[in-house]
Amino acid sequence: MILSDYIHNGNHWLSRLDARVKIISAIVLLVMVLTYEGISFPVFLFLCGVGLCVDMKVHPRALFIRYAEPFFIVAVLLVLKIFCTGKTPLFSFELAGMSVTGFREGLLEGVRLGCRIMGAVTIVAVLGFSTPFNQFMAGLSWMKIPRGFIEISLFAYRYIFMLFEDAMVIYSAQKNRLGYSTIKRGFNSFGILAGALVIKAFDQSQKTTVAMTQRGYDGIMPNLEHKPFKPSEIGGVLSLIIVMGILWKIW
């Protein structure tokens, strides 16, 4: 499981940008991509995004894993659209005694949808690779996302790694004792694994609460202070939005 902390390159200029600026930019660009009718704008964003990821020295494997699922979904949607949508036949062939027809409108629709998906995925990928989760949450707290949600998210992120290691230990121990040798045993073992994780989570939460209480926790996490924006960052994001807006309009 690859999360951004493992591949985050803190030295890159994009990583040093304020998380709030990146989040706002990502939201605006996502809206632009989702409302664009053609293919050039999302394709442009896709190429820029991949270039940024390469510049950030994101490992090719991490990039492949990030794009594998969306690529597959695009392929499936393209097939669905080509053969299920449209009126103008583009091509047809015989398959196991059946006549299969691909439609022009479906192909265009599928390509447009696919480009939109790839453009949107790239925006979020760049955000994920350049922003550690804690900074992302700090940015969301500035945007008045409810405090409770921020607290739960930070707890969850902190303990994902610890519980994941515990899960791997339990899983390995079960495997060593033939816990996954048959399908029935596998389901049983997996249920035990899930139950063991819940027990661990519960016990850990009690201990964490005690530890937090003796450091002054009274049910509400202390407020995070935000550094003031740099004028260069504000200027940068405004310029980006204006340029992208012009491209969105004219292409």
């Binding site: 902390d5 949450m137 902190r158 005690v210 937090m212 209480t213 003796q214």
Partner: protein, 283 residues
């Protein structure tokens, strides 16, 4: 040390867990200001329970614990935790923020401090535990020993004068154990932090600690300086402990091989001096 003010006066008569387990019997000990005290006991002797009672985390016991003259059973958590704090054995139980600086800043922020003061305390605390420059590091990327030190920094940043530690050297490699004890000694001597630690590492205790209490089945069976406590080896076996290894060696040389040791040294340095004295014939 006897003239120093008593910070923690512990007088426990008994404590029984909800499942009927009797965890504490007669406990009578005083922790003085600036002391570096240890509670030595085997597994299940009640060390962790005693520390929790001293820290005010367990209040339904029979007896009293006074923190600076005030009964902890009557104090609010805030009043207790502004002065004393407990560090548990497992650092993962008490590190809950994403980054080192966020976790260390948690306590000062809860105290109502802001901005620059919080940052200053965080920096100072991390310097004290030799983790300067680790502010932005994620907690889960730290080693076990580093996590333990972040836990200590979290309490130092709150300005705690009394730190209780539950087996701080557990799980560390030999050099890690020595570094941890050296760090605690440094905090004790340079920052005047009163430290009480539960342990069963008998070899390190005489090197660093001022006072030692042997705990067995919920009762203090012996207390005093390490020299006083380790003067009766048979008592140690009764409570499933042993002498420090160097002391064990010299004890056998003295009593079984009749070598002319005047006292049983507890540290390698002391043993070396004694051996040199005997072999040079100056004793």
């Amino acid at each position: 040390m006897e003239d120093m003010v008593v910070r923690l006066a512990v007088r426990i008569n008994s404590f029984v867990y909800a499942d009927g387990t009797r965890a504490m019997n007669k406990i009578n000990l005083d922790i003085r200001k600036g002391e570096f005290a240890g509670i030595l006991g085997s597994n299940g002797s009640g060390k962790t329970t005693l520390l929790k009672i001293m820290d005010g985390l367990i209040k339904d016991f029979q007896g009293t614990v006074h923190l600076d003259g005030r009964d902890v059973q009557k104090l609010s958590p805030k009043e207790i935790f502004s002065k004393a704090g407990l560090i548990f054995q497992s650092p993962d139980e008490q590190l809950f923020a994403g980054s080192v600086s966020e976790d260390v800043a948690f306590g000062p922020l809860n105290m109502g401090l802001k901005g620059k003061e919080v940052a200053r305390r965080v920096k100072e605390a991390l310097d004290d535990v030799e983790l300067a420059g680790y502010e932005a590091k994620s907690i889960h990327n730290l080693s076990y020993g580093q996590k333990k030190r972040v836990c200590i920094a979290g309490l130092l940043a709150m300005g705690h004068e009394i730190i209780l530690l539950d087996e701080p050297t557990a799980g560390l490699d030999p050099m890690g154990e020595y570094r941890m004890m050296s760090l605690l000694k440094k905090l004790n001597t340079e920052k005047q932090v009163t430290i009480v630690m539960a342990t069963h590492s008998v070899d390190l205790v005489p090197v660093f600690l001022d006072k030692l209490y042997i705990l067995s089945k919920g009762s203090i069976v012996r207390g005093g300086t390490p020299e006083e406590v380790f003067s009766a080896p048979d008592d140690m076996a009764d409570v499933r402990l042993r002498l420090p290894q160097i002391a064990e060696l010299i004890y056998r040389l003295k009593h079984e091989d009749k070598m002319a040791f005047e006292k049983i040294p507890l540290t390698i340095g002391e043993a070396r001096r004694e051996i040199m004295r005997i072999t040079s014939g100056t004793g």
